[in-house]
Amino acid sequence: MTQVSLDENNLFMLHPTAIRIDGAMDVCAFGPLAQRYAPAMRRGSVLSDFFEIAPELNESSASTFATEQTALVLRSKSRSIHLVGTLFATEGGYLLVTKPTIADAANPVNGFQIADFAADDPLVQCLFQIVLLQGLRDEAEKNAQDLKLAWEEVGDILVQLRRITGFISHEFHNLLSIIQLNCDRVISSERTSPEVARAVGMIKETAIRGGRVSQWLRAISGDADLWQREPLDDFLRANLSLLRTLGGPNVTLSARLMAGSACLKAPVCDLLNCLVSLIGTIAKGCRGSVHADISTTLAEATASELAMAELRISIAAEQWGDGSELLISRHQSFLGNEPGRSSIAEFAEAAGGTAHYEPAEQTRGVFTLRIPCAAENVGRVEAPQANKASDLAPHRHLVIVEDEPAALEALVELLEFEGFPITACSNAEEALAAISAVPDAVLITDVVLPTMDGLTLALEATRRYPQVRVVVMSGHVPNHEHYNPRWAFMQKPLSVDELIAEIARADT
């Protein structure tokens, strides 16, 4: 073995963090970096005045530590930094070779300056990277918060805009309905000349076209009609590839879609948002492969309950990863306490349904959503067949409830012309009084009425007089807890022929 002899300068160039101590644990000499850790340290100082050392270093333990090369942890008493060190026996004392070490994983550079490290210390590059990544993470969190606030702000405006649009479309629809009914009234009058009838016919056509515009407005308002257009299964089928892409290579996705033509009574884009959130969370929060199975079924409607689509998402993961906890804690405000559960629950609740999560085993679980839906043709009017009142015998008494006097007057006149006995009412209270006198009447009611709405009126009337048949008329298909899908529905603007057909259907 070749022995190399180093003078003190060479020694501290090689080990700038080293401290030479004598047998009494007093400082004899130290490298330039060692002095940074304890700036007041001088030759002859007592080492333990500047560092807390574990295990305790003293005259009796030193030789054992040097022989066994025991790792020592030094905490500077003057700076918030930690060192690790090893003791080597030298002539007349010991050489304590130290190195900075990270004591606080959450804030690794805490207390350190780059000058505390030797020029070639690889820890410096690690610390740079950690600090930079922490900076990026902090910025991403701030961006996420800003984005959330912006979204909430925009969301509030959108809600207001939707309400206003919905209100305008409703009013517009009602006005068009009144115009159309009165056009029918004029056209069917024997006193109307052919020229006038033709001109009024043109007005009626224009009103019908205006009705389509109001339907678009209604759709923009995000209200009921959107859910009617696309069956749930078709929607899920169309978006499976998107969900698969989001899941990435480790997430396999299968689908068993059995809900037929049922359409959700909720904006399907909201459903997609929570599915995206759920699949994304699963992809990030699990280790190994994960399988997600999406299945749908349809529970039939009863007289008292709306039809419900049941959407089940079964998750089977090889292993939940540590990342899931981190992910959830970082995005709690978006996801809630469990991956995807909150947003799914909020969606289901907003749609008037329910959601729950059932863990099957440690790495398996099932999200189940029950969401109100309607079959595709609920609320749609079939083309009338035998649609003249004269074909119906005997004529049922009609109780017509409409708060727009011009609409009520036209409707009454047109149906009286068809031979129906009619009681005209402008509010629910008058209607209930009228039905009490004719309990087997057909109740034809608008939805929006003063004091009591038409759906509550229909519910109350059928509760009191089970023989009453109901025809609901409105600008849009009612998406309301009181709406019973068994009631007939007429979409405004009304066609008198279709209304007569619907009365006939209600009669049977």
């Binding site: 350190f112 300056q113 780059i114 000058a115 990277q129 922490q134 993470r137 910025e139 800003d146």
Partner: protein
């Protein structure tokens, strides 16, 4: 360039204008802070166009705008999530400049498409530092002057930064400070 510089430009402009002016400037430049993601890479041409447009709007030469932006860049970095990395890079002006390349190495590790410059402390004596700057980009000397002035501010020095010459592949700057 990474979107962080776009964000700095945005904040710099916002600070140069009163609240009532700012809306008009933002509209004129068609910039939104949320649309500038720090970790996304934007084409250099887009960044330079934004710089030129902003300079024109402020009625200053582009080089002057770049110098002011460079000075602001240090303040901008100190404010945000990157303050800790600045603190760690150096506790005085010479050591900070000496360690800039090590910091930039970490930036490249985290953002592999970053095309970072290199700074070499060629000479250091009391009150004067000679710094060589190398970059694959050209025409950013005014920005570097501002950046070095920003570092003087950071370490509470009064002084000046001058561009001296082109030395081999580097641009040489001299910092004189008290």
């Amino acid at each position: 360039m990474y979107g962080m510089i776009h964000r700095a430009i945005y904040d710099f402009l916002a600070e140069q204008h009163s609240e009532s002016e700012w809306e008009g400037v933002r509209t004129a430049l068609n910039v939104e802070r949320d649309g500038m993601i720090s970790t996304l890479v934007y084409p250099d041409a887009q960044t330079m166009q934004l710089v030129e447009d902003a300079a024109m709007l402020m009625g200053v030469p582009t080089a002057d705008f770049m110098r002011r932006l460079g000075r602001f860049w240090v303040t901008f970095s100190e404010r945000g999530a990157y303050s800790r990395i600045l603190d760690f890079t150096g506790e005085d002006l010479p050591s900070f400049i000496q360690n800039l390349d090590r910091m930039h190495q970490a930036v490249v590790s985290a953002m592999p498409r970053a095309d970072v410059p290199s700074f070499t402390l060629v000479d250091s004596r009391p009150g004067e530092l000679v710094v060589d700057y190398r970059s694959n980009r050209t025409g950013l000397e005014a920005f570097v002057i501002g950046l070095l002035q920003g570092l003087l501010d950071r370490f509470k020095h009064y002084g000046s930064v001058t561009y001296e010459s082109r030395v081999a592949s580097a641009s040489r700057f001299v910092i004189r400070y008290g």
